[in-house]
């Protein structure tokens, strides 16, 4: 992957600006590639020293399930990468409570420590961002 912090027509420097970026994950892993390619953006974004948060709601919470074994579908298991996010100083992972309940999931089912938010709190989180990315 080419890392490209410089580009043509860059009309101002990006250094110094810190914005709040929220990555919204609402899709299950493996059925589609969105979850994986979203994570690839998050990893690159880490180099930009922005204020990054990840939100998991609806089927997006399935991305961080423990115990994924993908050998038989011949697709790479990318769930361990969520554990590596801490090393990139990405530590704000939020999961919506209502989405967990609808799927019968508990905090200990997740591969990473997360903060559980009510729907109202999740809405508040969304509202206070500068940039919201969804895939």
């Amino acid at each position: 992957m080419t890392e490209a912090t410089g580009g043509i027509e860059m009309d101002e420097n990006t250094s110094g600006k810190v914005k709040k970026f929220l990555y919204v994950n609402r899709k299950a892993p493996y059925g589609t590639i969105y979850a994986l390619e979203s994570l690839e953006v998050v990893l690159i974004a880490a180099a930009f020293d922005q204020d990054v948060s990840l939100a998991f709601l609806d089927d997006g919470i399935y991305q961080i399930m423990k115990g994924q074994h993908t050998k038989a579908i011949d697709v790479k298991n990318f769930s361990p990468t969520f554990r590596a996010l801490e090393g990139y100083d990405i530590e704000k992972l939020y999961v919506e409570k209502e989405s967990m309940e609808a799927r019968g999931l508990k905090e200990e089912d997740f591969i990473v420590p997360v903060k559980v938010l009510s729907t109202a709190e999740m809405a508040e989180l969304m509202q206070t961002q500068d940039v919201v990315l969804s895939f």
Partner: protein, 119 residues
């Protein structure tokens, strides 16, 4: 105002790339600056030079290319997503350039708004 655009889907299959184009065109007509259009996921297919739709249909690839030519819009195709989907310099339409994901993050930082079009 400076607007960044993210296109997550390929041409014809999903309406996302149509809506993104019509939005971008309207923004330019209203005098806004398009900071960049970034093509990710299947969005990279929007840059496929070999695309040949039926004659009575819109030509989505050329429509983007014309926007780049007429209004100097920066059309960036994600290199990782493009390689995975077989988009390379040899089939890249003029007016698009291939670059890294950092260009998307940069859009988020530099643009006043980042508008996402997907499935």
């Amino acid at each position: 105002m400076k607007l960044g655009i993210l296109v997550n889907e390929g041409p014809y299959t999903h309406q996302a790339s149509d809506t993104a184009y019509l939005f971008t065109k309207a923004a330019i007509e209203k005098g806004h600056k398009i900071q960049r259009v970034f093509f990710y996921h299947d969005g990279v297919y929007n840059s496929n030079r070999l695309t040949e739709p039926p004659q009575d249909d819109r030509h989505i690839v050329n429509r983007w290319a014309k926007l780049a030519k007429d209004h100097h819009v920066d059309l960036v195709v994600c290199v990782a997503a493009a390689l995975r989907r077989g988009i390379k310099d040899e089939n890249l339409q003029e007016g698009f350039r291939i670059s890294g994901l950092g260009q998307l993050v940069e859009s988020g930082i530099q643009a006043d708004r980042l508008v996402v079009f997907g499935d």
